[in-house]
Amino acid sequence: MAKAKITFEDIHQTVNVPAGTRIIEISEKIGAGVIYGCREGDCGTCMMEVTEGWNNLTEPSVLEEKVLRENMAGRHNRLACQAQILGDCKVKPA
């Protein structure tokens, strides 16, 4: 299976994951600083900033786009409960 490396910059930790893994599945287990609310892409609590590898995450859905807009997201913000990892990337809490 294809693998990818994701780095959580706030805790300087890199994890090697199968492609398609959602960020929420990793960040809580290693204690990264992303906070979750609804866990279903609705509340915007889990907003994070993608500092590298922006294109290595799945495209945001229409709903995610809407929530990002409502929460005044910056250009490289994503929802950690939604984004799936396709290739190497680096993230930190927004």
Partner: protein, 430 residues
């Protein structure tokens, strides 16, 4: 001149004006004893709602809990007509303040609802059972303003205090801050104002300790927005209206939110605390070895506590200010011991996220305690970077050396000398 009779809002059923055109239209709940499961109150609470009259319309700021609508509407009707209401603000959507919203929107369909940017999804979830068509609303954030003609409401985005969607609303011309649950307390007094009511200091601190304390960093961010404001009155959603020296309460929040430890020892030292229980001294020996290892690391202040000798509350205070926590427990009947669980189940009032944790303990044959404590720490969102140490019965010198090593490693992680182990495999994450 005759004294005016003292205010008693349990017999006075109309609005109470406390600044020009600014009225309290809330409700009293004197018999409430438990709030939201986690809070006690010895004399009930109030649900404070406010009405502001401007030259071009009326604003309602927060409503009351379901079941208290009659009192609220009666006070509202004493000073305004429903068709005058132009603006409704909810500073957060918790049901104790949004309970009368559906009925208010029905009576004032022309009014526009203003909520924080984070409140959208909650609004849908809260109103789901009551209504099919969603409300029209506007989301606002810091420095957004709404005009009532000669008066203006300005919003302050103060998330997580204590709901994600919390905001404050500031009436610029009168310098009144409608602060929501911030600066509130469960204290019901018919005299309504902080200079008239009984001694509510305990209730104020107790409310902070249970509602705001887990969100201290967010309190600091909110204070950065609140402190520069000119403030004649702070009007929270529960308890007394703070009109006499309101700034004292703001300053008190800053004090309560500043870590005592960092004030005393300076921000450069990291604090590592080892807690243990031991019946025959085996786990205690491990604890001492960990202590001696951690203590060799510069920049880390190490403390060792036998749980048998203390009570939960002060330990919770220590934990709040610590950067790393190590728990030692023997395995007794397949479990960690009760004092360890008592402490680990009393931490809902503090923020543990990102603190470093480790577990250790002596056991006789099955040794479940260490893994269970590690799972609990992970569940509390702590980071557990090293596998805990389990020792069968009496630790050997070699095993004690391992303990010393664990103490040193954790301390080194704290000061950033030891990085996390390179790359973790996803399959290794439990």
């Amino acid at each position: 001149m005759a004294d005016t009779p003292p205010l008693n809002v349990s017999t006075w059923k109309e609005a109470v004006e406390f600044a020009p055109g600014v009225h309290w239209i809330g409700a009293l709940d004197p018999t409430l004893r438990t709030f939201d499961i986690i809070l006690k109150t010895a004399n009930g609470t109030t649900y404070n709602s406010y009405l502001v009259r401007g030259s071009e319309g009326v604003a309602i700021i927060d409503t009351v809990k379901e079941g208290f609508e009659d009192e609220f509407f009666r006070r509202l009707e004493s000073v305004a007509r429903y068709d005058e209401i132009k603006v409704i603000v909810l500073n957060h959507l918790e049901p104790d303040h949004s309970g009368a919203l559906p009925e208010l929107m029905r009576r004032a369909p022309q009014a526009r609802l203003y909520i924080s940017t984070r409140a959208t999804s909650m609004l849908k979830a809260l109103l789901r059972p009551n209504r099919e068509e969603p409300f029209e609303y506007t989301t606002v954030t810091t420095n957004d303003r709404v005009s009532l003609g000669d008066r203006h409401l300005r919003f302050l985005h103060t998330p997580f205090l204590h709901w994600p969607d919390t905001q404050c609303t500031y009436l610029e011309e009168e310098q009144v801050l409608f602060s929501g649950d911030i600066f509130g307390c469960h204290y019901c007094d018919v005299r309504l104002f902080n200079d008239r009511v009984g001694d509510f200091r305990f209730s104020f601190d107790y409310y902070y300790a249970h509602i705001m304390r887990p969100f201290k960093q967010w309190v600091m961010e909110a204070l950065a927005l609140i402190e520069p404001l000119k403030m004649k009155i702070v009007a929270p959603t529960h308890g007394p209206i703070l009109r006499e020296r309101p700034r004292r309460y703001v300053a008190h929040y800053r004090e309560l939110s500043t870590s005592t430890l960092s004030r005393e020892i300076g921000d450069t030292n990291k604090s590592l605390i080892i807690f243990y229980m031991s019946s025959y001294g085996n786990t205690a020996r491990m604890a001492e070895a960990i202590y001696s290892g951690a203590d060799t690391v510069e920049g880390v202040r190490v403390s060792l506590y036998d749980l048998e000798g203390g009570e939960v509350a002060p330990f919770v205070d220590l934990i709040e200010d610590a950067d790393a926590l190590l728990f030692g427990s023997p395995t007794i009947n397949g479990d960690a011991v009760k004092p360890v669980w008592d402490l680990l189940s009393s931490l809902a009032v503090v923020n543990l996220k990102g603190k470093i944790g480790a577990a250790f303990g002596s056991y006789g044959w099955s040794g479940e305690a260490v893994r269970m404590v590690e799972d609990r720490m992970r569940g509390l969102k702590m980071r557990v970077p090293r596998e805990g140490l389990r020792v069968k019965l009496i630790p050997t010198q070699e095993e004690l050396d391992e303990c010393t090593g664990l103490g040193r490693e954790i301390a080194n992680i704290l000061v950033g000398k030891e990085e996390q182990r390179g790359v973790i495999e996803f399959s290794d994450l439990t």
